[in-house]
Subunit: 311 residues, 2 copies
């Protein structure tokens, strides 16, 4: 099991089918467990996927249509029931505040979960978590909708041989990472001497939307892009009139953005075979995973850098 | 397929499990399709059960705990989406009004379904439908909770031989049923001469509650009783402290009430085998069906009356 992976809970748009639950997805990223757009039934899908509701650290809603949020009350009540006593952060378009208020108090429930609300009022940096920054950009849907982008800051990878050559070991390695410098036997060693740059990874979550530049900007150079693909190319007119994407358009967005891997989801009930979506997207972009319920899709590992040139 | 049957959607209390969805049940009774206590995920369970959301005529909520109502928003939005243009009646405890308000408008939705609200403020007759009367009685739970009872009025069954003997046929049979009398070749024939009494059937839905007299009164002589059985006898203390029933207590209620058939549901997640519940209830009552998700349980047909004594 990767420590950075997408757990797909449901893949249906609008209405569930025999094969597909309403949309829902979890991103596991080291210590963060981020739930995106929980549709009705997300609580049970988590059980089927083997992910504990109590492990969720953040919840992001792109918009307040039912198929993207009606699972929220069950999740919040379940987390309270399971005794979660740390705050949970909830990100959503500010214009959806009235619905968030109702969803948070939709039925009589015991226990209280502390929810920190983050209504989003425009493009830009939304929040900085310990290991990731959350950015939002407005998409082009029928109600206010934000796509999400998670960015890990660039870091450095320690080089074991270089550390050994300088006699740095044990707690000194932690000091070096924290302070950028350490003194060993009277000599000053800077972190740059014993490490190489490690670019941060990134992730984007794009739904629901028409084709728009914001989708490409959210997905710029990400390691993993999750993108709605409600329709096939033969239904491009429908996609446009309901403000959705086709699978081909999702592939074009991934290609234009230079993403590394594309996950398709949020399919119209018209199509029970997700392979059709994968085929259309692959005409534009190579690494396509057309998700099925309960799939796990790893964030591609960092590319191994070229061997470090010794000074 | 019987035209009077219970369609079991989900059988879990509090939280769903791998095997069991949150509670939900539909009673199909001739032209009525009554949805009881839709927990989260009811929309998809209907699809899996082959019951159209658009066919629902009434919705009854015993109380406003999440596992009995968080499926309501999805059902109402789905019915609107599917173009239902007749009103839908919604029955619920009046003290749950604030939650009903939120559930009805929980997220941004297109379309409008006309919902006629019937907040219930005490025991007694709640509404009279074309073919059934709905009665409520307060149960003993942690929040205001009403059990439901449906009663078909007594009618008469026409006797083909007697009709033929009086020369009554075609539209005259309808006139006789409507007016109670018909004239054939100058002779007056009263309905009593060519029919026998046909007692109405009845149904009760009891959850969530501690043992109480109201549960027995709701279930008095019913053809089908649906009763919660959250726990087993070994957990009687838990049942009492959380205001729930054991399977044995459900069997005792069915026996004391003189019900004909008992359906058990709403099981604690502790027990994955519903046979344990059936065994405990059968020590007190013979005709027990421990429900599994997606089961269909017929309302037992009327007992065939003794042959009619000819006058």
């Amino acid at each position: 099991m990767s420590n950075r992976e997408l757990v797909v809970l449901g893949t249906s748009s609008q209405v569930p089918t025999r094969e597909r639950a309403h949309h829902g997805a979890v991103l596991r990223w080291d210590d963060e467990v981020v739930l995106f757009d929980p549709g009705e039934g997300t609580q049970r899908q988590l059980t089927l996927a083997g992910v504990s509701a109590a492990s969720i650290t953040r919840i992001c809603l792109t918009h307040l249509h039912g198929d993207h949020c009606l699972g929220l009350p069950g999740i919040l009540q379940r987390m309270a029931l399971d005794g979660v006593d740390r705050p949970v952060d909830l990100y959503f378009p500010a214009s959806g505040q009235e619905y968030v208020d109702r969803l948070r108090h939709a039925s009589a429930a015991r226990g209280a979960l502390v929810v920190r609300e983050h209504p989003v009022r425009g493009d830009g940096l939304v929040d900085t978590w310990p290991a990731l920054a959350l950015h939002a950009r407005a998409l082009d849907h029928r109600v206010e909708t934000y796509g999400w982008r998670l960015e890990e800051p660039d870091g450095r990878r320690m080089l074991p041989e270089a550390l050994a050559a300088h006699g740095i070991e044990g707690p000194d390695i932690g000091r070096l990472a924290r302070d950028g410098v350490v003194h060993v036997e009277g000599r000053r060693v800077a972190v740059e001497e014993v490490s190489e740059p490690r670019p941060g990874q990134s992730f984007a979550f794009v739904m629901d939307t028409r084709r728009c530049e914001a989708a490409v900007e959210l997905a710029r150079d990400v390691d993993l892009l999750v993108c709605e693909s409600t329709y096939l190319t033969s239904e491009e007119d429908l996609a446009d009139s309901y403000a959705h994407l086709t699978a081909a358009q999702a592939g074009q967005i991934a290609a234009a953005a230079g993403a590394r891997r594309l996950v398709l989801t949020h399919y119209s009930q018209r199509h029970s075979d997700e392979v059709l979506f994968a085929e259309e997207a692959r005409r534009h972009f190579p690494d396509v995973h057309a998700a099925r319920d309960l799939d796990r899709v790893p964030v591609p590992p960092r590319e191994v850098p070229e061997p470090h040139p010794r000074r």
